[in-house]
């Protein structure tokens, strides 16, 4: 059971990174920081005659790192009640992978995976973060990925997350689940 973590934040040592590392400490994980990659927004050519154009960026490199793993952890700060724009641009591009002849098994591979979401926000995340969780459910349903669980933590300033004992405890539970 191998694990990839996809980080959507771009603040070093942010709360959600702290919480996520509590989950993954002691486990072998492939850590992918989307902010370190150049990922273009999708140019929607699903219905263009010529199909999608190759994009000269790092998107496929990230996909190549993710696809081999059994478990994906999406770790994102909650910005404006959803995942970060960086992470959204990454997921938007899945529409291209779904039609990319170089990735004929993209959907099949995604549908064999389990996914978790770890997210931290400052404004009542356990309530106002729920639409984001519902979106992830729809996203995972579409590609057939099993949505195995989520943690919504609360924090604003770096370090705040250690005060959220419920989130810390949930992280410890998840670590045991992943061992």
């Amino acid at each position: 059971m191998s694990i990839a973590v996809i980080y959507g934040g771009n603040r070093p040592d942010g709360n959600v990174e702290t919480l996520t590392k509590l989950v993954t400490q002691g486990l072998m994980v492939e850590e992918i920081y989307l902010k370190d990659y150049s990922i273009e927004p999708i140019i929607d050519k699903r219905h263009a005659e010529e199909g999608f154009s190759d994009v000269n960026d790092d998107y496929n490199a990230v996909i190549d790192r993710i696809l081999p793993h059994d478990i994906l952890i999406f770790s994102t700060p909650i910005y404006w009640y959803s995942m970060t724009g960086i992470m959204k641009n990454f997921i938007d591009r899945w529409s291209q992978s779904l039609r990319d002849p170089n990735y004929p098994d993209f959907k099949a591979l995604m549908s064999s995976k389990k996914a978790y979401v770890i997210a931290v926000g400052g404004d009542e995340p356990s309530i106002k973060g729920l639409p984001m969780i519902q979106q992830f459910q729809h996203i995972f349903d579409f590609v057939g990925t099993t949505f195995a669980g989520y943690i919504l933590g609360e924090g604003n300033k770096p370090g705040d997350i250690v005060q959220d004992l419920k989130a810390i405890s949930a992280a410890e539970h998840l670590r045991k689940e992943l061992q």
Copy 2:
């Protein structure tokens, strides 16, 4: 009553653009296509000592076009059950404007506006688009903008939207409301 439309898609003549233009035809509107601007993802420095750094991109130019208007229409294709990554990156940056000494009235100005959302998706948007609507509600609540209404249309291939008679009718209603 002046109107700005913020387009989040990047397919020319996409369904949501068609639907939105049905709403705005005959009205004076400022049309902003986010895809034509370079907008960086936010570097979250809300809690950094030095504060946010100036970003050398087009974000403020877009803000400058939006702020004078009374009504904002957010027009986005539904990608993966939410607004596009381009639009999300744009909204993420509001966190910076909220702290930008060059925009001391950002929140006050936003709180005097009314907003509408027009969105078109291919996978049961009237149900699976609802979390996105709830997110927009939270977004608008945060800055004090009145969420005055939304239209969720259905379409995949360009042109599909004209088949969605409910959405077309809702667009006509909204046009009358905006006159």
Copy 3:
């Protein structure tokens, strides 16, 4: 294509009844006012050895009126951001029908139907009524009923609904759809 309307309110001539009759005028419909029936809350015996007990109330009479129809319209005022308790008690009892040897085809019959929801509330129904719509989606998914559409109208005092032009227009669209 035959239609049954299931009314969940208990105020005569309430807003949702007015809106619903706009949808059904000129159509043959079977109108069921749940308030006129005695329907007990479910006694959950899904896992009791003896199974569910027969209940001496009108629940089955209502089911018998509903099952022959192709289309079900659930018409409910929004009380406290969801369907009325009367309607909820009625739906709760479906758990019993699903196990009732006298109704061996309950699920199969339900799964061949299309359902609509018409609801009117006083507190921002187009936003705060959305969790109710999501609940109905889950309910219909469980029994396999197609959720074909919904109208969320706004009104408090009797008669208010005629001011909600969007809802009125949606009702007219739905009437045409049902003809």
Copy 4:
């Protein structure tokens, strides 16, 4: 800090009762089983000239037991993706209390309380139970009650809940929080 628990289920020793008692063990709590009371559905007379009629049932007796407490725990099995019809009928009646001259402080008292929701369901409650949580948020917002937290457990057959280690752990956390 005194606590009332409002039970919405009607299966003895159901999963949500087990989970709730894990939260309240060792604490002084007033336990109210709604199934043991006769509570009529509301007859909506908010706009009737004569106002609401007195109802000859146990509703006010339940209100009288609840109002003195600082903390309310709503404990309900998830039936059809929401609270039970029994609990919904109880909450529907709050509309009457809000206008009842015998309870002039109903809203003020409710707004001074904190509320928790504990719910157990069999069909992916951590996802499909979220609309119910959003609904409770709207309910509590309306009367000004602070929504202090919730636990969504998974279980079908009586006893199942002890397998849901995340829910058990959350219950233990909540017990400490309430001590």
